[in-house]
Every structure is written in structure tokens, then in C-alpha cells.
């Protein structure tokens, strides 16, 4: 497996400029002769589709939702980082780069992260020009707030719905291109496989979710921007439809899959309330700007009303343990600290699985009206879900699966190990290392879609003859389509007794216990023994009712869960082999004073998994990571 990351030579500040100059271009008049397939319409995919169409390429964009405006980027709440230094508080491109590499616990590629920090400033300009209604000061300038893992205010936001506002910007740009005929949009259409012919990606096989029709589409290049795989845990903050199918199918067609064990558990989510629970709801990290996290000092106080617990009997454990970052410690650290308090028997709420996020002091200092202005919609959402008023009673929160740093391996050009197959946004692995900082996912999605792929894809296409568009009647397409149909038939024909959801829930619980916030050799070996059993049961006893060739939500889910059941195994294998703790990957055996203990000697690399065939063990390759600009050090937020 070729893992040449193609990072340009030279000083880190000049790599991207140099790369852009060295890249080949496609003549404006020739661009329309190239067909580009984009899967996903979120910040990464939608931005890529719109921008490539602006340049003149012939774009086809697919999404499983009923409209491109509903991609899961829409749910991002808190904000988007950019090194504008509008607050004059010491920010710079280099500082954003440094914070991101450090926040990722030194498991990201320096070159990619620096480029991300560089283009972050252009993203804000572009979004403002498109009419994204960012929060502003009375003087008319843009407002900022702080997020975890940073000591500057560099986060731009639109109340608690920054994701929706940025996505509506992308959607409007995409709609413009759809209107003038440069993008053909396929909503309610799901990718089921990638077609690879003679080592190159040449197209995709998709299913029209309304009619059930399977069809093939050819392109000179295929871009996957299909989001993360957090739903492998069943309960997560992801939308119900989010899935790993595109990335996993690409893996099975030859694309390396990197660091699948790097999953992010977000510290501030509404705790689980019962076994009917279908998803977990995030309470934005921005709340940690003003909310203070605590648990009672004494176990016997846990059942008391919080008002009855005096200040000296409260343990503001983040402020105690990490005085300089306090409540704004990075996500992995804050999550583990919450688990630690609950494991110690000092958790609050049902089952003792919760900690308080308390706004009492802020309401006292700034008044309820100011708090409402900043966080009103989040407080309302909390109240609707829990029936409790967070202006009066502190919120109860607990960590939940939120984001996946791992993903399809890509080089500096965002190309996978399969030429012609590119991967953007959360679906790839490149920028966040072992832990993503808050407000950096939106930044990466838009960076990839607006500012990186338009250059790197052009460079690839310049080496492809426009006349060489694959035919969907070729042997490769026929074979892939046949595989897809066979898999659909197999799912329909099990005709067992158990629902798809029941398997998904069982898998999720297993992974949460064995490959969640804390992992051990024994727990991972347990999971690796159980997953194949569960998969076998699934293929014996799952039931998918309704028709294959029609609108069938059970069939959609069944395909996704079948892929999760296979994918879960490489995730656990990856966690087992990585015998160190870093970022979101916490191996209980590797810690020092309760903090993650990295092993840079053995693991300063990305682990890349290669599919070797049905029933065969995958190969693990490595891409070594060089740190030339940021000194490898133990992260300290103390």
C-alpha cells in the first residue's frame, strides 16, 4: 500500500503556496469535459460540489437526505475557528496550527494542519460574503468566543446553530450551481459502493431511496464527503442516518482506513434516560465558556438538591485539576474527568451517570437576559428534553460519542490510496490527530471543500484524458452492481425474527463498554470475540420487512448496520494494537497520574488498515509522523 503523503518540501509556512504553484491546471474551456462525482452535501461535500461547479466542472452530487440542506453538518452548534486575531489577543496562523497539533495529542500531520490554519481566515471571509449571519458586535464587526484547548477567542459563531448557518451558505452556493445546470443533484440517493477499475476510481453504485432502483454513475473522479462513523456506537450525537458505508466500501475496494480507534467522546451531552433512547443530544461546548462543571465532594450529597449543597462541598474538578484551562479543557480530558468522578461514586442523576454544568454564577453576574441571548436556544432544548429549567437547576451532562477523527486515509492532496478517489471532511482522517478541538470540524469541512480540493482535484484531472470517462456498462460496473444487488437480496432474504435496531443497539452497548472512553487489552479482546458472533446472528436472524424495490427504511438501516458490524472489528483491532493512550484513545494500561500516556517511540504514526479479502485479517501499515515545527511533549492543560 503506497502511503506517500506527498507533503511538499520547504518551511511549513511555504508548503501550501509551493504546492499550489507546482500543481497542474485544467484549461477553463476543458473543465466542463470532466465529470466529478461528489457523495455527501454537508460542509465538505456541498462546498466541494459548489466550488468545482463554479470552476466549470460537470458535477453530480448525491445525498441520502431529502435535501442537501439537511446534511449532518447542520447540527453543529458552537462555532468555527479561524486565526483572524480580530480580538488582538495574540492569535496567529502559527498558534492555531500549534493548538491543533497539541490538541490532537501529536497524532496529526503537521503539513495538513498548518494548511488548515492558513485557509481558516479565508473561510470566514467567504462565508460572510455569502451572507452567513455570524454574531456581531454593536460596531458591526464580527464577534468571537472561546472554545476548549485554546487560550484565545478565535471562534466565530451564529448563536447555537453555527453549523446550520454555514451549511445554508454552502447550500445556497450549491443551489446556485444547480439552478444554472452545472450541478446535477440526487437527493434521497444513497451510495452503496465505489467502482474501481484498473486501480482507479471510476464511479459509484447508488440506490434511489424512493423507488429502490440501483444505478451506476461514472466520473473522472469520485469525492467522498460522507461524514463520520460515530453511529457504530448506536447512541451518539450523530444524526440517525449517519453511517460508515461509503468509507467502508471504499476500504473494501482498496482504500486504506486510518486510525479507526480515534473516536471522540464529547463531555457535555444530555445523559441517557432510558433504553428507548434513540440518540444523544449535545449541549454545545460553548456553554463551558460560562458554565462551571462540578460534582458533590461527598458521595452522600449526590441525592441532594444542588441548591442544598454549599460551595465548599462542591468539587469544581476541572478548575481544580487544570487551573489554567479550567472548564475549557479539551474534550478528551474533560470527558475522562467526568467519568472518573462518576466511577468514584460522585455522579448525579439517574444511575449516578451525570455531572452538573452550572450557570448560577453567570446568571448572578450577567443576569438571566444576557445568558438567554448567548445560549437561549440551547437552554430551551435542554428544557424540552429533560423537563427541567436550566436557569434554575444546573444542567446534568455526561460524555457521549460525538465525532470520529479516524477515517479514510488521504494524502496532502486529499486523495485516498485509490487514485481518483478523494475523501473530505470528517470522513477522512487527516487533521485532528487523536482528538479534535471544538469548532475545528466546521473549519476542516469548509477548508477541504472550498479551498483545497479545487486545487488538488485539478492537478489530478490534468493528468486524465477527458475522453476516458468509464462506461457504466463496463465489466467493473457490472460486477460492482451485481455485488450490490446480491447484498440487498441477502438482507431481504434472511427473514429472521429480530429487528435491525435490536442488533445495532447490542453492537453499540458492546462497543461503548469495551471500546469507549476507557479501553483495555481484555475489553478489546472481549469485543473482538463478540463482534463476529453478533454478525453471524445478524445474518441468521435479522428481519427486513417491506419490498426491496421501494421506499424501505428498514432495508436502508440494515445495509448500514451490516457495514458497522464489520467495521467495528477494525476499530477494535486498531485500539488493541495501539498500546498507548493518546487523545480520545485511552488505554487504561497506559496512564500517568490519570492522564493519557503516549508512546512516541512506538506509535508516532498513523495506522492504516488494508483490506485483504473476505474472512482474512487486514494488514496494518504505518505512516510515520514527523514533528519538525512543534516539539513532541506531554500535553499539559494545568
Amino acid at each position: 500500500m503506497n502511503l506517500d503523503a506527498r507533503i511538499p518540501d520547504g518551511p511549513i509556512e511555504q508548503k501550501w503556496s509551493k504546492a499550489k504553484f507546482d500543481m497542474r491546471l485544467v484549461n477553463p474551456a476543458n473543465k466542463r469535459k470532466y465529470k466529478v462525482i461528489v457523495i455527501g452535501s454537508g460542509l465538505a461535500g456541498g462546498a466541494a460540489a459548489a466550488t468545482l461547479a463554479e470552476l466549470g466542472y460537470d458535477v453530480a452530487c448525491f445525498c441520502f437526505q431529502d435535501s442537501p440542506r439537511r446534511a449532518h453538518s447542520i447540527a453543529a452548534q458552537g462555532g468555527i475557528n479561524a486565526a483572524k486575531n480580530y480580538q488582538n489577543d495574540g492569535d496567529s496562523v502559527h498558534r492555531l496550527f500549534y493548538d491543533t497539533v497539541k490538541g490532537g495529542d501529536f497524532r496529526a500531520r503537521e503539513g495538513n494542519v498548518h494548511r488548515l490554519a492558513e485557509v481558516s481566515v479565508d473561510i470566514i471571509d467567504q462565508c460572510a460574503a455569502m451572507g452567513v449571519p455570524f454574531a456581531r458586535e454593536y460596531g458591526g464587526t464580527l464577534a468571537n468566543r472561546s472554545f476548549g484547548g485554546a487560550q484565545v477567542s478565535r471562534t466565530f459563531y451564529a448563536r447555537g446553530q453555527t453549523g446550520q448557518q454555514l451549511l445554508l451558505g454552502v447550500y445556497s452556493a450549491l443551489s446556485r450551481q444547480i439552478g444554472i445546470g452545472r450541478v446535477t443533484m440526487f437527493p434521497r440517493t444513497e451510495i452503496l459502493d465505489v467502482v474501481v477499475d484498473d486501480g482507479r476510481a471510476v464511479g459509484v453504485v447508488v440506490r434511489d431511496l424512493v423507488t429502490g432502483t440501483i444505478s451506476s454513475h461514472a466520473g473522472h473522479a469520485v469525492i467522498l464527503a460522507t461524514g463520520g462513523y460515530g453511529n457504530v456506537f448506536y447512541l451518539s450525537t450523530n444524526a440517525k442516518g449517519s453511517n460508515v458505508t461509503a468509507g467502508f466500501r471504499a476500504y473494501k475496494r482498496g482504500a486504506g482506513f486510518a486510525n479507526p480507534c480515534f473516536t471522540q467522546i464529547h463531555p457535555t451531552c444530555i445523559p441517557v434516560s432510558g433504553d428507548y433512547q434513540s440518540k444523544l443530544t449535545l449541549m454545545s461546548e460553548s456553554l463551558r465558556n460560562d458554565g462551571r462543571v462540578w460534582v458533590p465532594k461527598r458521595k452522600e450529597d449526590c441525592g441532594k438538591h444542588p441548591d442544598k449543597i454549599a460551595d465548599e462541598d462542591r468539587d469544581y474538578y476541572l478548575e481544580r485539576k487544570y487551573p489554567s484551562y479550567g472548564n475549557l479543557s479539551p474534550r478528551d480530558i474533560a470527558s475522562r474527568a467526568a467519568k472518573e468522578q462518576c466511577d468514584d461514586g460522585r455522579g448525579v442523576g439517574p444511575g449516578g451517570r451525570g455531572v452538573y454544568l452550572d450557570f448560577r454564577d453567570t446568571v448572578k453576574r450577567d443576569g438571566e437576559a444576557r445568558v438567554r441571548e448567548k445560549y437561549g436556544n440551547l437552554f430551551d432544548m435542554y428544557q424540552r428534553i429533560t423537563g427541567e429549567n436550566p436557569y434554575r437547576v444546573p444542567m446534568r451532562i455526561y460524555p457521549a460519542v460525538h465525532y470520529t477523527m479516524g477515517g479514510v486515509w488521504v494524502d496532502y492532496h486529499l486523495q485516498t490510496t485509490v487514485p481518483g478517489l478523494f475523501c473530505l471532511g470528517e470522513a477522512n482522517f487527516s487533521d485532528h490527530g487523536a482528538n479534535r478541538l471544538g469548532a475545528s470540524a466546521l473549519m476542516q469541512g469548509l477548508a477541504d471543500g472550498y479551498f483545497i480540493i479545487p486545487f488538488t482535484l485539478g492537478h489530478y484531472l490534468a493528468g486524465v484524458n477527458a475522453k476516458d470517462l468509464a462506461s457504466t456498462t463496463s465489466a467493473a460496473f457490472k460486477a460492482t452492481e451485481a455485488d450490490v444487488r446480491a447484498r440487498q437480496d441477502k438482507l431481504m432474504n434472511v427473514r429472521g425474527k429480530r429487528s435491525v435496531d435490536s442488533f445495532h443497539k447490542e453492537l453499540g452497548l458492546l462497543l461503548w463498554d469495551d471500546c469507549g472512553m476507557a479501553r483495555t487489552k481484555a475489553s478489546l479482546e472481549h469485543a473482538l470475540a463478540k463482534i463476529p458472533e453478533l454478525r453471524e446472528q445478524f445474518w441468521k436472524d435479522v428481519t427486513v420487512l417491506g419490498e426491496r424495490d421501494s421506499f424501505n427504511q428498514s432495508l436502508e438501516k440494515a445495509g448500514r448496520v451490516a457495514d458497522f458490524l464489520e467495521f467495528a472489528e477494525i476499530m477494535c483491532k486498531d485500539a488493541l494494537v495501539r498500546e498507548e493512550s493518546c487523545g480520545g484513545h485511552f488505554r487504561v494500561e497506559h496512564q500517568q497520574d490519570g492522564e493519557a500516556k503516549r508512546d512516541d517511540e512506538r506509535f508516532a504514526h498513523a495506522a492504516v488498515w488494508e483490506y485483504t479479502g473476505e474472512g482474512k485479517a487486514p494488514n496494518r501499515h504505518i505512516e510515520p509522523l514527523a514533528f519538525e515545527n512543534v516539539k513532541l511533549a506531554t500535553r499539559s492543560y494545568k
Binding site: L55, D66, S67, A75, A129, M130, S172, A173, Y276, T386
Partner: protein
């Protein structure tokens, strides 16, 4: 934790062309902390166990922002709790023994796909016609070069909070998409960046709304009451004024002729 036993009357329809009907189901032991969609999940699990096809309904984020969920509950779009989508509606608002009628959005422009799922692509067509600012990536000035008074930025944001669910259309006796279209326009027209194309945009989007089969607005304001994001009917006044102006002074343009290529 208290639980509910409920009688549900749910619209079942095999596909776009088939005739639909209300079918009655009993669902037992639903936690009051469950969301309305989780209650439907419980029903579906019960149906699957009995070998009956589960009820199809649209949903995705389940946190009130993607706009995918779309149910008429007892005749009210999203169930009638103020500023709340169905996915955020919780069962504690219902009583043990309640009978609940669950139907899809009903509007000429939203044909039923199956059971409770409808086709809302007509909403996308309105945006495709002009709901954007024509600025190619790469050509933006520094974001702080264009100052925007906070008051206008806030108004733009409030209009832009629309999640495109279509509740306004479903609630309107005329099946009009006026609140939706006006919210899209008010978002862009409260910003300086939205001014150059203001009249073209207004005319194009209103025409697209008519062409997509939405009815006319006759000021019932049911839309405002049903909106899960509290979009104010004020946005509609802005459109009417701009539309009148556009009819007099705007020249049609040819989008295909120029653009970015």
C-alpha cells in the same frame, strides 16, 4: 418513571399513487421521558415483532435542526408545542389513554411518498431560483471590511433560523410557502451583501414558489403559529414591498450567460 398507554391513528399509504387510510394501533408502556419519535420507534419494534411493516416517517438529527421530521399530530404541524419540532416533542405532554392522530404534511406541493413521508423538493426549487448571493469562492473581501449593524445581523439571523421543514406550508389553509420564501429573502435582504441582487431574487423566488404549486398567502398566519423556529410574519411584509418594486424596475437577467467558468 411513569408510562403511558396510547391509541394511535396513523396514516398508512403504500406509495405516491396508492390510496391511504388511517390505521389504529395500540402502544403500551411508553416512558414520559421518551420523545414522540422514540414512541414511534417503540411502535415500529412492536410491529416488526408481529411481522407487520413498520410505519415510515422522516427524521434524522433528532435535535430540532435538520428539518427532516414532519408530522401532523392531532391536526397540528409538529404537534402544537410552541417553537418545537416533532423530534423535540416529548411524551410528558401527553396523558395516559390519549388517542393521537398522526398524519403526513398535507399540501398540493408535497405529495406523499409513503405513510408519513412527503416529497418537499418544491422547497429546494425556490432556493435554486435565486436564494443565494452570487459570490464565487476566492473573491471575498476581509470579513470585517463590511460592517453590519448588530440589529440587522440579528434580524438576518432570525430569518435564517428557518429549518425548511415545511410546517408553515402544512399549517396554511392555502398550502402557501410564503413564510418560508419570505424568511429566505429576509435573511439575505437584511445584509449589505444581499442588496445587489435583491429585486431579481425576490421576483425569481416568488415566481418559483408559484410554479412549484404552492398556494397564495391570504394572511391567516397559521404559518407563524406552526413555525418551530418562531419566524415572524414580519418577513412577509418585506417581500410584498420588494415584489411590487421588482415588478416595476427589475430587468430579467440571464444567469447562464456569465457566471464563474
Amino acid at each position: 418513571m411513569s408510562t403511558l398507554n396510547l391509541t394511535l391513528h396513523i396514516w398508512r399509504q403504500a406509495d405516491r399513487k396508492a390510496a391511504g387510510k388511517l390505521v389504529t394501533y395500540k402502544v403500551k408502556n411508553v416512558s414520559t421521558h421518551a420523545s414522540f419519535l422514540e414512541m414511534l420507534d417503540i411502535l415500529n419494534e412492536q410491529l416488526i415483532e408481529k411481522g407487520e411493516e413498520p410505519v415510515a416517517f422522516d427524521h434524522d438529527c433528532r435535535e430540532g435542526i435538520c428539518g427532516m421530521c414532519s408530522l401532523m399530530i392531532n391536526g397540528r404541524a409538529h404537534g402544537g408545542q410552541r417553537a418545537t419540532t416533532v423530534c423535540q416533542l416529548h411524551m410528558r405532554l401527553f396523558k395516559d389513554g390519549d388517542e393521537i392522530y398522526i398524519e403526513p404534511w398535507r399540501a398540493y406541493a408535497f405529495p406523499v411518498i409513503k405513510d408519513l413521508c412527503v416529497d418537499r423538493s418544491a422547497l429546494d426549487k425556490i432556493v435554486t431560483a435565486g436564494g443565494y448571493i452570487s459570490v464565487n469562492v476566492g473573491s471575498a473581501p476581509d470579513a470585517n471590511d463590511v460592517l453590519i449593524p448588530k440589529e440587522y445581523a440579528d434580524r438576518a439571523f432570525e430569518a435564517a433560523a428557518c429549518i425548511g421543514c415545511g410546517a408553515c406550508v402544512a399549517a396554511c389553509p392555502n398550502g402557501s410557502a410564503m413564510l418560508y420564501t419570505a424568511a429566505k429573502l429576509a435573511h439575505l435582504h437584511n445584509l449589505p451583501q444581499g442588496q445587489p441582487e435583491r429585486l431579481h431574487r425576490t421576483k425569481a423566488m416568488v415566481s418559483a414558489m408559484d410554479a412549484a404549486g404552492f398556494g397564495n398567502c391570504s394572511n391567516h398566519y397559521e404559518c407563524e403559529a406552526a413555525c418551530p423556529k418562531d419566524i415572524s410574519r414580519e418577513v412577509m411584509a418585506l417581500v410584498n414591498r420588494d415584489y411590487a418594486k421588482a415588478a416595476w424596475v427589475h430587468r430579467d437577467r440571464d444567469d447562464k450567460g456569465d457566471g464563474g467558468g
